[in-house]
């Protein structure tokens, strides 16, 4: 099918590609621009840069306000990834190939945190954690991130489980394999790519999350995006650019892992995280 349409498609491909070039540039240029801005040889934000230097990067890592923000972000992300993977993956396995009354409700509950606006959740968590007395540390922020990260891990794990015939699980069980053994030998090899991709998602969701972390911030628990958000409102400084470049680097690594995986599998459909 594709082979037939290709030569004809070639005729009209050009004008459309030219037309779409600014749209693709609009998408990617602002994301990448933070890297040269961060390496700018100037005390102020300028673009194009005056020259390349690592002064701003050194300044970032020498500033305890920024390094503690980085460490707070890492702690929150660690909580979100561990809890998100455990809860999301166990939900996907538990729901795989099953039908029981109330199943739709469970699936709805697992996915629901994705659709509630973050600001509504931020307010709800803010109120809730104050009422239970869990404030002033990174723990409530990590827990809140785990709530919104879990559905992503669930979706990626569910997508990788789609190719697994539930009969395999039953045959393993009928041959005497226990639950743990079934998990290790039947589920694990199949879901591993989904787990890795889900963990990357959970990490990315947590490290970029701003609104909930802003509501629940405290002197010891100010994450990188919160520090950036607070500073941006006063001035655009090179340290914000360094922090942005750091986050873009993390995003690029996540993306590259995904691209390598897709090229291996030769399936571009897997690149669409939300269609999982």
């Amino acid at each position: 099918m594709k082979r037939f349409s290709a030569p004809r498609a070639g005729i009209r491909r050009k004008p459309l590609s030219l037309l779409s070039l600014p749209v693709f540039a609009f998408l990617v240029v602002p994301t990448l621009i933070v890297v040269p801005v961060a390496l700018n040889n100037s005390r102020y934000i300028t673009f194009p840069p005056d020259g390349i230097s690592l002064a701003a990067v050194q300044g970032f890592f020498a500033d305890p306000a920024w390094t503690s923000a980085l460490s707070a972000s890492m702690q929150a992300a660690a909580i979100a990834v561990v809890l998100g993977v455990v809860f999301g993956a166990s939900a996907a396995i538990g729901l795989h190939g099953r039908k029981f009354p109330g199943q739709q409700a469970v699936v709805g509950l697992v996915l629901a945190p994705m659709i509630v606006p973050t600001v509504v959740l931020a307010l709800a968590f803010y109120q809730f954690f104050i009422s239970v007395g869990l404030v002033g540390s990174i723990v409530p922020i990590g827990l809140a991130h785990a709530v919104i990260a879990t559905p992503y891990v669930y979706l990626t794990t569910r997508a990788s489980l789609a190719g697994l015939n539930p009969a395999l699980v039953r045959s393993a069980q009928s041959l005497g394999a226990g639950t743990l053994s079934v998990f290790r030998h039947v589920h694990m090899p199949v879901i591993l790519p989904g787990l890795i991709s889900g963990a990357l998602f959970a990490f990315s969701v947590s490290i970029d999350e701003t609104v909930m972390s802003l509501f629940m911030q405290s002197p010891g628990a100010t994450t990188l995006p919160v520090k950036m958000f607070t500073d941006i409102q006063f001035n655009l400084t090179p340290k914000i650019a360094v922090s942005s470049a750091l986050l873009v680097t993390v995003a690029t690594i996540g993306l590259l892992i995904q691209v390598v995986y897709v090229l291996k599998r030769r399936s571009t459909a897997r690149m669409m995280p939300l269609a999982a």
């Binding site: 099918m1 998408l27 994301t31 606006p117 600001v119 709530v147 873009v248 571009t268």
Partner: protein, 294 residues
Amino acid sequence: MAQATLARARPGAGGPPSGAPPKRRRRAGWLLLLAPVVVFDVLLFLTPLGKLIGSSFTGGAYARVLADPLVTRSLVNTLSIALTSTAVTVVLGYVIALVLWRSGTVMRVILFAVVLLPFWTGILVKNFAWAVLLQDNGLVNGFLHNIGLINAPLPLLHNRFAVIVGMVHCLLPYAVFPIFSSLAAIDGRLALAARSLGAREAAVFRRITLPLSAPGISAAGLLVFIISTGFFITPVVMGGPGDMMIANEIDYYARQLTDFPGAAALAVILTVLVSIIAAVYQRVLKAGGQHETL
């Protein structure tokens, strides 16, 4: 969108096991796998949301916030900004999805990466980059000045225009995915048949590609609109004082006024408003679709 895929339940999966005793044991095992996530979400998702809704009904919060002219203004801002950015996003998203759809495999992976990089990057980073580009001595103003088009910098930042640019940039990937899915589902032989009957490319697009990708367009529109109503960071970083949206008002009530019931009432109003609009939208679409098939 995520919920739409739920409807596709696997038929015939989890068929009846042979013996009764192992069945009970197995089912208990699998339900045990669901327990952690259910307990976690009930404790840390439903309970906070329930408390939020409960607190919105205390102390006449609804009457108080609805009498606040700033709230009315932010509601109007939210609807107008969300509708504008949704329209722009869907048009640009369609162009991107179309190009993705027509590219070969390698090009498709590269272009997908271009779409996914901003998707993986946080809103704050993207808005910061836009602020750098659009500020008075930023790249855009510098370029326009250098080619002699302007003498004084254009006010590109801290206004409605900037908010919409920043939001469209964040929303684009969400529009591309559903539109691309619906394009990918189109039977390529339809276009071949049309061309063999003498249809020009414009006619093929207008009468085959566009109508058959309509479900993707409407799904993208709904998803993007729902996401856009909750924006909080972009109005602060890129907007002016007159561009605050409902999420900013929630923040103001919660953290500046420390009026939790008021903030909770606003959060409920936002959620209800978006749900109503989504329901009406889907009903209108359904009616339109039925009309088309007649």
